[in-house]
Symmetry: D2
Subunit: 454 residues, 4 copies
């Protein structure tokens, strides 16, 4: 059933219909569309805009459709233009002509954006839970590795020893910010556009407070033109999602490298790895790689949606139909990525020995020596220069810093004490005990703070 | 059937499988996958890598699967990891254990990229045809409107009168460049990666020239590592597509404005318009708007895919699996947009009177006066200044330039001739007869050139 | 002065230096860098890490450099690698060797991100003020146009009459959400990374609370690795900015169309318009157009920065150097765009007559008739159909709805009353008095609510 | 000097001027602007549109300005709106009032796009040379490493041994495709828009063929409206550039990993590395990292520019002013990145021993065993399964494949020959001698083919 045939003489071209119809994807909003319609129908009756009994019949019919949907047996006309007309057509089959009264005092313009807000609000809550679960998995692993040392990297060059818990908690805090951004977005989107009509409001004596409350919104939106033209909430979620999945991609990059035998820092569970059709030895960190790849997809959706909105005049334009598929895919991708990361992180085995061995290579305690010289009064710049020359000397002679004799040391700085002992990697990490630093005592505090957030 | 179980002890996690499996979308490559496998199986037999009879059985089995696919009755295991394993599993059902020999001397890495090139080559040809059809529709309309004047705009302000054919042909030339870019891309992608193996080539005595020829490729790719890691052809198509749909979006923007009663330049056919569920009078240029919107989507896919490839080390990484859905959607979107634009343009009615009336408003012939003064020896800068003041005077007094008496004219420039007649819009357009200009005589030449391209 | 020469034997290649050095753009952070260094130097003295007197000399030297910068006479070595080494070199010139002690217990990694947060915090506050100013300009215009009717558009087709104040306030609310997002971002970024060192913290007994307080931060960051690798605050500002400028671009699109003579709804002040070098009559809405264009730039910066961060392993990588130019340009572009929009909006003249005339055209009160039939008991769907046919009839006969006689009306619906009078555009607008609707009484409430936000 | 003051009463607002003026960046087009103006002035004289002597004076004046520019002493008014008005103002100072005749029969709209095409054509040629230079550096290194084995990776897991030359040449072919795309773009852009006027052509008897030839263009553009509104050539260069720098980013990622001690495959020259201000041992692959980062920037420019063009109606709109800065930065970034990569690649030292050692680890020859079983008649799928189990056994027992005794081997497959010897990595590579494969003999052919391209 078309909702708008009156003034038209010709049918829509078949290909144009294929191009224009959104039913194949907006059917996903069926539950929300019905929920919104039920609230609207109730309000219409309550306000006397339609008869009480008419209202009751509409509600009953809509509830029956909802059951059909929930039981996996929706009976929509597959050639419907969109979910709204599909529902109305089905409603007419059930309740007859009174179905035509449901659309009193509303438009698809306020309806669709109400549906989408309801949907995204639910999905946002699920996303929040998925973030929390991944944060828990990180905390779980961190608890086991407060004293596991590995090289901390800058520029992918060994920099200073750190403990694995500290490294993993860095991701905890990224996700904590994501969670904050998501919560802010969810709060900002929680207003009801229902009752904005096509864009100017309506002359029927509707009660927007009532429908807002029925649907769990904090309040109705203040401007009807803005309400039907606004997709800020879609973009805000997408921007949150893009940054969140970028965080996953960073961890993914590390997992991928750490799983390579050159690093050998982590062994992934078989359940989160795949093999090769030709190379029998392969065990690939597919989940990590694919998430890194899907980050491009999510960035693309954000970019594309901003480009869609750019330069759109008020109020509703069909360009806005482009919000849904990109949003659906963004939500699905992020949620699933969070889920599989949770499993991958939870089941991963970190290889303490490989990490410890690596932590001792690459002159990672050179800063300790420079700091020590600084503590002994050498200006830091000069201390840096001295140790730099020591490292260059060691590299040329294929030595580690700890191989240098005190005689050799004094060639670089005459006041080196007789018995100069370098820090072990764990000592080195433990020495960095400033607030937020990698010393295990500090990391335990950090873990405590992290646990409090969960 | 998993193609790689040997070294694994645990099954893939269910959610991870959902995340990783590509069968739900790469089934779209079934035809190409089969075509590639048939060529490969033939070659294996021809080169004596497998027995002639084995080769024949494989080919026969693959052809049967192809028939199942073509007849709309594919019998693939829906839980397959990807199309490649789906085909091999089905093949095993048909031909038995010999199916296991098909994968000799190849890998999914070279297989999937062969499939994708085959697919995109076909789709590229279809895209080219769709461009040509839209160009024809533009030429068709242009032929009817060589002397239809309308205001040419710069900054969306009336600038100078032009003829509609000239305006429409501007889009012809944009599409002509798109066509050129597409042809270049199709030529560049027409190399066969088959036989690159997992990434290093193979030790079996394969004949890559043979499979390349069988599949209609110009030659085999020269470097096996590049071959399996390369998705340039995907990006090149997407970049072409993004610019092409940007061109459509520009026309879409004009159609949208021209269909508004404030312009009233065009009336779209009902078959390419839609209505409103609440406002009975509405007739919306939905096809144009939605195409403008979909431009964001295509830009997003390009952006996302570039981001996917950024920083990927050699050779195959699972990130590359992200090429397909974005590409499929780009191709589908562009092709369908071209098709519906063809219909929309072909069936549109341009309103000569509204255009002509508009062409005379907004001082569009002011440049003619300035040019005329320049021809009479006034330096152009000064002529511009004089006419600028005339326009300001007219605006303040709510007059058109043609309303000025010769007395008034001479207040701006003393040497205006007694009887000074301004150009009509059509005269004005006709006077701009430089090569590529809007004079009907020139536009007829241009139409001729355009027709030669088709 | 290079801060890291010790282990190197060769100079950086000249072109590589050109490529790598950031001084030409990060000099913009001089003020923040000095502020951070002063806080750090004070803390070093307070904690006894360096002598009290040394600390005082460093602070004094840094304050002198700050004065040089503020007075527009910075004395930095133009070949400096970055602002940090430029400052240290200059400091050495002023205070001598003790300058080398300033870098004790910190790294450029925590230093640069501290600088950037300080800078963005200030710029964010300026941005917030610019948003408020534009909101005020919108409210100012809205107050003058509570009863100015114009056609509200959907799909750029006239939909229903609205009042201009309502239309303008739609932008007020968009900016209000932008303001909220900005405030959230500013709060989230207000943590001090100073003291995170290269990435592991430091063994010196620093006081991060002290420097955080000195610099006005709410607290120190909780994880040193995250702190130096995190650019979320940059992305969050950019995402806010992209959406904000998208809002401007929507208004820009309307201004551009409204300034065209076909609409004629607005006349821009000369101070916010430009002319043509060739067409003497032109007056172009350049500010609006350019802002619409610059929206692409800001979207591009966001996209690019997300792509930069994608797949970056911990902790600092030189890729992060790419944050600054994109951020600087985003901030500059948005702030300037907000400023010029404020002026353009404030000085614009809206043409009541043109708007009123347009509001009556295009069957904008057709919904009123349908609603009226619905009130008289006709199911809305059927009412919609009836009025749709009335409109089609009028279009074919070149009539307005108000031209139909009661006899004609009754051919569409037999129960039309004898004397059926259609709403005028203002009556139509006034009738849409639901909460958030366009009725002047409601718009006055809305204005009140808007004013309370400012 | 403003080129359009006539009809305006008020000055442009100061901030709006700052926003609108392009002189600070389009001064970069001075050389091209002058070249175009000289050709135009000559043509005006030749066609008798202005006097021969006037033409000569204009040309002389323009040539003098060109000398000022070339000698680094341009005398432009720094408050100019753009380069075009700057040149005209300066010309007036030199030749007097006749300067006003230069703008006869052209507009800034055709002028600016002519300038930009001239500029990009030159820059494109320079880019092509920079690509060639990097290709040469890759070939140079490849020649030294035809028999240097390293592990080829898929999924960043060791897959099969390859030779370094093969790996490096993969980048050669990527760049070869980039070069092809650039050449196609350069050819497509080589048309002269000069003479298209504001957008409709001109009534003056100009000779567009003449100016096209003078400026080295293949022909004039065929449609004046398209000509002034078209920025396809900018987008096409940007799309080429984005993919090209993505290729660099892939190599950058490998260099970054290979320079980490965990890989240790490459040692970069000091001239292309940097150190740390705090960690004396650091030697960072900064050039590679920064290029990887700058890839985001270039992707962002492409995205942004497509978004700028989306939905722009014909013809010139100020949005188009946004083409220049993004293009300039794209060209500069790509050229400089290519230059520094050339140096970095040319001077890099590849560590044969580390690579060889790594090539033998990770069961990289497992495919060889499976292939061997397949050659002995085992269906490949089964062979894969057998070797998969062998690998799992080895991993659990911490063995390499070559450690398995024939007794052990026969537990996996009873027909293993008594003396079963596994391939060494180099033998393994040498065995993959299919066309395009990694066998040194094939790689030598490939090197030959590569050299022929240079």
């Amino acid at each position: 059933m078309k909702l708008w045939g009156g003034r038209f003489e010709k049918e829509t071209d078949e290909r144009a219909a294929e191009f224009l119809h959104s039913f194949r994807f907006d059917i996903r909003l069926a539950e929300q569309d019905l929920r919104g319609s039920i609230a609207h129908a109730r309000m219409l009756g309550r306000q006397g805009i339609i008869g009480e009994e008419e209202s009751a019949r509409l509600v009953e019919g809509l509830e029956r459709i909802r059951e059909e949907v929930r039981s996996g047996d929706p009976r929509f006309d597959p050639t419907s233009e969109d979910i709204h007309s599909a529902v109305e057509t089905r409603l007419r089959e059930i309740v007859g002509e009174v179905a035509g009264k449901l659309h009193t005092a509303r438009s698809r313009n306020d309806q669709v954006v109400t549906d989408l807000r309801l949907w995204l609000r639910e999905q946002g809550e699920e996303t929040a839970r998925a973030i929390r679960a991944l944060q828990s998995a990180l905390v779980g692993q961190a608890e086991r590795h407060v004293e596991t040392v590995l090289p901390g990297f800058t520029h992918l060059q060994p920099a200073q020893p750190v403990v694995l818990a500290h490294h993993l908690l860095a991701y905890f805090w990224m996700l904590e910010r994501d969670h904050g951004r998501l919560r802010d977005a969810l709060e900002r989107m929680n207003l009801s556009p229902l009752g904005s009509g096509a864009m100017a409001g309506t002359g029927f004596p509707i009660d927007r407070e009532f429908t807002a409350q029925e649907l769990g919104f904090a309040a109705p939106t203040p401007n009807s033109m803005d309400a039907v033209a606004d997709r800020d909430f879609v973009v805000e979620y997408m921007a949150f999602a893009a940054l969140c999945v970028v965080h996953l991609s960073r961890l993914a990059q590390e997992i991928t490298m750490w799983a390579a035998p050159q690093f050998g820092f982590v062994t992934l569970d078989d359940a989160y790895s795949t093999g090769s059709s030709i190379m029998p030895q392969k065990k690939n960190p597919d989940v990590a790689e694919l998430t890194r790849g899907k980050t491009g997809r999510v960035i693309g959706h954000l970019t594309g949606t901003l480009a869609v909105l750019k330069g759109l005049p008020l109020t509703y334009n069909s360009d806005l139909q482009e919000d849904k598929e990109a949003l659906f895919d963004t939500v699905d991708t992020l949620k699933l990525a969070l889920h599989v990361f949770e499993g991958m992180v939870r089941t991963a085995t970190f290889n303490r020995e490989r990490m410890a061995a690596a932590a001792g290579r690459g002159f990672t305690t050179a800063t300790d020596v420079a700091d020590d010289l600084a503590r002994r009064g050498v200006p830091f710049r000069q201390a840096h220069e001295i140790v730099g020359r020591m490292v260059a000397h060691c590299e040329q002679n294929n030595k580690a810093l700890e191989d240098l004799t005190s005689g050799e040391l004094r060639e670089f700085w005459p006041d080196f004490p007789e018995e100069y002992r370098l820090n072990t990697p764990l000592e080195s990490a433990a020495s960095r005990n400033s607030y937020g630093g990698t010393a295990p005592e500090r990391v335990r505090e950090q873990l405590e703070a992290a646990r409090r957030k969960l």
